[in-house]
């Protein structure tokens, strides 16, 4: 079986500073893969490389096709929704306008309106606040808006950069539950970057642990969770 997303010996960095030193990983079609590691390990840079936000060498293939020299817009249009660090909410716009930006490239109107219904089922609070400025939302609500918007892009792969960041534990749990139902209901593959290793391993089927720009450990999420030495040395719990 060939993977939906394949990173092969990926090197990337900012100007003269190299951040990734040969990262290889795979996300299978419809699978959930966690990308873990400490601050500065290169998790966010990996996601940014996939959507063309940093210069890279090596290879990134999506659906068998290399993303080399493709613009961010072109990559995204192939079916990758990237919820970036800080969520990328357009705070100058209303909640509804943010959602429209998610679906603005789609032509399948009937299905778009079904997806809106589905999104509002997951996140009823967004329906209540449709007309309000996105800047009035709380952190958790903004994360919901970012997920909803990504879902409306009808992606084949979602890149989620620390969806738990800055949120209360109870909100984190409900958001991860929704990520799980999204993955199960629409078979969207997910590459999940997290600091919160425990909750990420619960959700994912496979995981990679980055350490200063290299994959230190990878494998089955349940196995990593059960391995005490891995847990203690890399995951910190």
């Amino acid at each position: 079986m060939s993977a939906l997303l394949e990173l092969e010996n990926l090197h990337a960095g900012y100007g003269p500073t190299a951040v990734l030193h040969g990262v290889s990983l795979e996300v299978p079609e419809g699978g959930v893969v966690a990308l873990l590691g400490a601050n500065g390990a290169g998790k966010t840079t990996t996601l940014r490389a996939i959507t063309g936000g940093v210069r890279w060498s090596g290879d990134i293939r999506f659906d068998g096709q290399s993303l080399r020299r493709m613009s961010t817009e072109a990559i995204v249009r192939r079916g990758i929704a990237h919820v970036p660090e800080g969520r990328g909410i357009c705070t100058e716009l209303t909640v509804d306008e943010n959602l429209q930006l998610g679906s603005h490239l789609r032509r399948d109107r009937a299905e778009v309106s079904r997806d809106y219904d589905r999104v509002f089922e997951y996140f009823p609070v967004l329906k209540e606040r449709r007309r309000l400025s996105a800047s009035t939302l709380s952190g958790g609500e903004q994360q919901m808006l970012a997920l909803a918007r990504a879902l409306l892009m009808k992606p084949r792969l979602m890149l989620l950069d620390e969806p738990s960041l800055g949120l209360a534990p109870i909100v984190v749990r409900s958001i991860f539950k929704i990520i799980q139902s999204i993955n199960e209901a629409s078979r969207v593959a997910v590459l999940l970057v997290e600091q919160n290793a425990r909750i990420a391993l619960d959700l994912s089927s496979a995981a990679y642990v980055l350490e200063v720009g290299r994959v230190a450990v990878h494998g089955d999420s349940a196995e990593l969770q059960g391995n005490d030495s891995v847990r203690r040395s890399y995951l910190g719990y």
Partner: protein, 293 residues
């Protein structure tokens, strides 16, 4: 009273002209945080194009939309050729480039058309209409109607169309927009095109009043700066409201303050800029910029 109302209507008409040019400034400011000092000269050049067409016997109401389309295309060309290669340059570099562009367009117009002021036709009759006992000129009413329609069209485009939505998103949140598949660079070009077309309206509306020559917009751009700053340089609505306020203020000051008269009207515009920047730097509709660190 009669005279006051006439001055008021004339002020609103002038305000519509300022509002159009101020809106053009705000569109570009929003897209790239840059005050386009060449906006007035772009409008002047578009008006010269209209003049050349009218001189060839084309009817005014055909020339008007054709000029808007040409100005739109010209704005996009300028963004692609002049601005895009230096998009990431420091802001001061960009400011100098727009100043250079202004000088270039001014010289170009002078080279092609000369510096002799030319009369530019107004499509509206020179008579006055009797509005409940107040006589106001059809020209003023016409300018108010045209600029009102243009401002309304821009509003509808930005607020109620998909393109408008992606333009606003690209202007305020380029990184996030790119991740949503928005062609940010093209949206910026579209912003330049739109600004150029809106500016061209102000040029064509002011030319019958001031006479057309390469330096025609140099005072108008000051008023437009005043209007944009008064409205809060980031707010399209603010620019429009600011335009009308500046138009009315300048006109009434010219009519009723003997020491202002016709000569010091420009000083009133400059005084508005200085006063706003000292007393309320974010303008009427602007928001204080908060940066979290």
């Amino acid at each position: 009273m009669q005279e006051f109302f006439q001055q008021l209507v004339t002020g609103i008409a002038t305000g519509g002209i300022f509002a159009s040019l101020a809106l053009a400034l705000v569109l570009i400011y929003n897209a790239m945080g840059l005050v386009n000092f060449a906006q007035g000269e772009m409008a002047m050049l578009a008006t010269f194009v209209a003049y050349a067409l009218i001189n060839r016997g084309v009817s005014y109401w055909i020339v008007f939309p054709v000029t808007l389309v040409l100005a739109f295309g010209g704005g996009i060309l300028i963004q692609r050729i002049v601005i895009r290669p230096v998009e990431r340059a420091p802001i001061l570099t960009l400011v100098i480039i727009t100043l250079g562009l202004a000088a270039l367009l001014n010289g170009l117009a002078g080279f092609v058309f000369g510096y002799v002021p030319r009369s530019f036709p107004s499509p509206f009759p020179a008579q006055s209409a009797d509005l409940f006992g107040v006589f106001v000129s059809y020209r003023d009413l016409g300018v108010i109607a045209v600029s009102g329609l243009v401002l309304l069209a821009v509003y509808v485009l930005l607020q109620h169309t998909k393109v408008g939505l992606t333009m606003r998103a690209a202007a305020h949140h380029p990184e996030a927009s790119r991740l949503l598949g928005v062609h940010v660079s093209w949206m910026l070009a579209l912003g330049w095109g739109l600004a150029s077309a809106v500016g061209a309206v102000s040029g064509m509306m002011v030319a019958p009043i001031l006479l057309l020559e390469p330096n025609m917009m140099q005072s108008i751009i000051i008023y437009a700066f005043a209007a944009a700053v008064l409205g809060g340089i980031e707010s399209p609505l603010g620019a429009v409201v600011g335009g009308f306020i500046v138009g009315v203020t300048v006109n009434l000051a010219g009519a009723y303050l003997p020491f202002v008269g016709g000569d010091l009207q420009l000083a009133v515009g400059l005084a508005i800029i200085v006063a706003v920047l000292i007393l309320k730097p974010n303008g009427l509709f602007g928001r204080a910029r908060v940066r979290r660190v």
